[in-house]
Amino acid sequence: MTASFLGEDYIEIRDLTVDFDGFKAVGGVDLTFLQGRLHFLIGPNGAGKTTLVDALTGLVQGTGTARFRNRDLLAMKSHQIVRLGVGRTFQTATVFEELTVLQNLDIADGIHRKAWSRIGARRRVSERVAEALEVIGLTDLAGKPAGILAHGQRQWLEVGMLLVQEAQVMFLDETVAGMSAEEREETGDLLRRIAPGRTIVVIEHDMEFLRAYADFVTVMHAGKVLAEGTVAEIQANPTVQQVYLGASKEVEVDV
C-alpha cells in the first residue's frame, strides 16, 4: 500500500491562511511535512498550531493549498481526508467511553470494511486490530470499557486507532501532556517505532520530550512559521530563544 505512494506521501502546504472574522489565526504558512521523521510543531499558546491542524483535517475552513497524494486537503471534508490516509488526535483524548478498547479499535477498522457488512455482529477481529493492541500495549485491557482507561492509555488508544486506520499521516495534538515521565518515554519509543513509512506531526509544549525525540522542528509564532530545523538549530536560533524557548522553563514547570 505504501509502496505505490512512495515519494508522494508528504504534505506540501502553501500560503495556508485561517481567518476568524478578521483575526488571522494562521497567516500564510508554507510548510512541508516529510515522510519517515518525527516532525514537531511548537510555539507559544495561540501560535496557530492546532488551528493549522484543524484546517488540514477539515475542522475549520482555510485558504491556500495543502497537497497530499495529488489532492488538496483544504477542499475536502473531514471524513474524506481521513479516508485519504490522514488521521489526528485531539488535545483532550476522545475515546468512546461506553465501548470497550477492542470495540474502539474495531470502529477505527471500519474504514477498511464495506458499509453493508456493519449489520452483522463482530465474529472476529482483523489482524490490524490485533496488531495495534500489541503495539500500544493494551492487549490485556481489550475487553474493558475505554472509560476506565488512565490518561496515558487513552492517548495510546487514540494512536492505536490511527494505526488501525492505517493513517499515513498522523497529527498528534499534545499527546504527552499530563503523562508521567515513564509514560512519555514509552510514548516516544512508540512513535519512534511507527515513524518509518509514516508522516508524524507532533504538537508539543514539552521541551524535554522534544529534545529527546524530534527529528525536525517547526516553530510557529502568531500564526506564522518563525523557524525550522533540527533541534540543535532551533535551540541555537536567537529569535526562537526570544519568543519561545526563553519561556520554556516556565512551561515545563506548568506541565
Binding site: H79, V82, Q165
Partner: protein, 394 residues
C-alpha cells in the same frame, strides 16, 4: 506498554489463533448473555403478547393492549434514534400519522362503495375526491406505501437536517415543529383529510369485516410487528452498526476522524425509526377505529417519548415496555381521574429525567451492581454533551 517486541511485522506474521478471550469474545458467559439475553426477553414478551394475552383478556382489553403495542412499535424506533443515536425525535407523531392515515384512507375507500366518495368529502367539500386518494384503493399499494412513504420522507428530511450538522436541541425543536406543522396541515385540509375529525367509521380491513375475530387478528399483527421490530433492533444493537451508532452519539467529531460520515449512520437510524412509527400508526387505525390530528400532533409525539424515557431509552426492551406501561397508565388513570393524567405525565418526565435518565431499566442494572456508580448515560463525556450545536458553528 507491555511489549518490547517493537517489530510490528512479528505480530502480523503470527496467524491469529482465536484462543485468547478478547480475540473471540463470543464464548465468554458475560458476552453470551449480553448478546443473547435480549432474545430471551423478547421471547418472554412474545409469549405474553401472542399466547397469554389472547387467551386471558377480554376483547376490549385486548384491543387496548393492541393500541399500546402500536405505541410500543413507534417507541422501539425512538429508542433506536434517541437512546442509541442521540437524536431526540420529538415529532414521531408525524410518521405514526403517516402510516395511520395511509391505512385509514384505504379502509375509508373500502367502506365507500365503488364510484362513491368518502362521506366527509361530500359533507365538507364539493363531493369530488382528490386524485391522490385513488391509489390507496389498492391494498398492496397501501401496504407498500406504509413502509416506503415514511422512509422516503424521513430520508429527505433527515438528509437535509443531518447533513447540515443540525443536532441536539436544534434537531429536537425542528422535529417537533414538523409535528406541529403536520397536525396544522391536517386540520386545515378538512375536505381532503377529514380535518379535526380525522378519518373514522370503517367497516372492513383488507376485505375482512371488522368483527371480533378480525380485531383479534389485527391485535396479533400489532403484537407480532412489535416482536419483529424488537428483533431487528436486537440485531442492530449487537452489530457493528450499533457500536458505531453509540460512538457517533457520544463523540460525533471523533467518529468523523475515523473516516465515517456521522450523518449517514444517524440517517439510517432516523429512517428506521420513522418506518417503525409508520407501521405502528398503520395498525393503530384499524384497532382504534379512528385516526385524527390529536393522535399525531406535538402532544401525541411527546407521549410517545414518555414511555421511552420511563423504560430506558438506550435499552432493548425499555422503550417497548415503557410505552405499554404509559399507555396502560393513561387509560386507567384517565378513566378514574380525568385530569390527573396530565399531571402524572408531566411528573414522569420531571422525575425520570432528573433522577433516572437511564429509565427504569437502569435501575435494574444499578441494583444488579453492574453499574456501580452512575448510569451509563451520565458517563457520557462532558465534551460530547456540551458539543450540542457546536458543530453548527462550523
Amino acid at each position: 506498554m507491555t511489549t518490547d517486541s517493537g517489530a510490528i511485522s512479528d505480530v502480523a506474521e503470527t496467524s491469529t489463533p482465536m484462543s485468547r478471550a478478547w480475540r473471540d469474545p463470543r464464548f465468554s458467559p458475560a458476552n453470551l448473555f449480553r448478546s443473547y439475553g435480549g432474545l430471551i426477553a423478547i421471547a418472554l414478551l412474545a409469549y405474553a403478547l401472542l399466547v397469554w394475552a389472547p387467551g386471558e383478556l377480554t376483547p376490549f382489553r385486548l384491543g387496548n393492549l393492541g393500541k399500546y403495542c402500536c405505541w410500543a412499535i413507534a417507541a422501539v424506533g425512538i429508542g433506536l434514534a434517541w437512546g442509541r443515536g442521540g437524536m431526540l425525535v420529538m415529532g414521531q407523531g408525524v410518521f405514526f400519522g403517516l402510516g395511520g392515515y395511509i391505512m385509514a384512507m384505504h379502509m375509508k375507500l373500502e367502506a365507500t362503495g365503488p364510484g362513491e366518495v368518502p362521506d366527509f368529502m361530500s359533507l365538507y367539500g364539493d363531493g369530488t375526491m382528490p386524485f391522490w386518494w385513488e391509489p390507496f384503493r389498492n391494498g398492496a399499494f397501501t401496504m407498500v406505501a406504509i413502509i416506503v412513504l415514511p422512509a422516503l420522507i424521513s430520508f429527505l428530511l433527515g438528509y437535509a437536517i443531518l447533513k447540515r450538522g443540525v443536532k441536539g436541541a436544534y434537531f429536537a425543536i425542528l422535529t417537533q415543529a414538523l409535528a406541529v406543522a403536520f397536525s396544522t396541515l391536517l386540520i386545515a385540509t378538512i375536505k381532503q383529510t377529514g380535518g379535526f375529525n380525522g378519518l373514522n367509521s370503517f367497516s372492513s380491513f383488507f376485505g375482512q369485516k371488522l368483527n371480533k375475530s378480525t380485531k383479534q387478528d389485527i391485535y396479533l399483527m400489532a403484537a407480532g410487528a412489535l416482536i419483529i421490530c424488537l428483533l431487528i433492533v436486537w440485531q442492530l444493537y449487537r452489530s457493528r452498526f450499533g457500536e458505531l451508532l453509540v460512538a457517533t452519539r457520544d463523540a460525533e467529531a471523533r467518529v468523523r476522524f475515523l473516516g465515517y460520515d456521522p450523518a449517514n449512520t444517524k440517517l439510517i437510524a432516523f429512517v428506521l425509526a420513522a418506518v417503525m412509527a409508520s407501521v405502528g400508526g398503520a395498525l393503530f387505525t384499524p384497532l382504534v377505529g379512528i385516526i385524527s390530528p390529536s393522535n399525531v400532533d406535538a402532544a401525541a409525539s411527546i407521549m410517545l417519548l414518555a414511555g421511552v424515557a420511563l423504560g430506558g431509552r438506550s435499552t432493548l426492551m425499555g422503550p417497548a415496555l415503557g410505552a405499554i406501561a404509559v399507555g396502560y397508565g393513561q387509560s386507567t388513570l384517565s378513566e378514574t381521574y380525568p385530569t390527573s393524567w396530565t399531571y402524572f405525565q408531566g411528573a414522569l418526565f420531571i422525575v425520570v429525567m432528573l433522577f433516572l435518565p437511564g429509565g427504569l431499566a437502569s435501575l435494574w442494572t444499578k441494583l444488579k451492581g453492574l453499574m456501580p456508580t452512575r448510569s451509563p448515560l451520565d458517563r457520557r463525556p462532558v465534551s460530547a454533551a456540551l458539543a450540542v450545536g457546536a458543530e453548527a458553528a462550523k
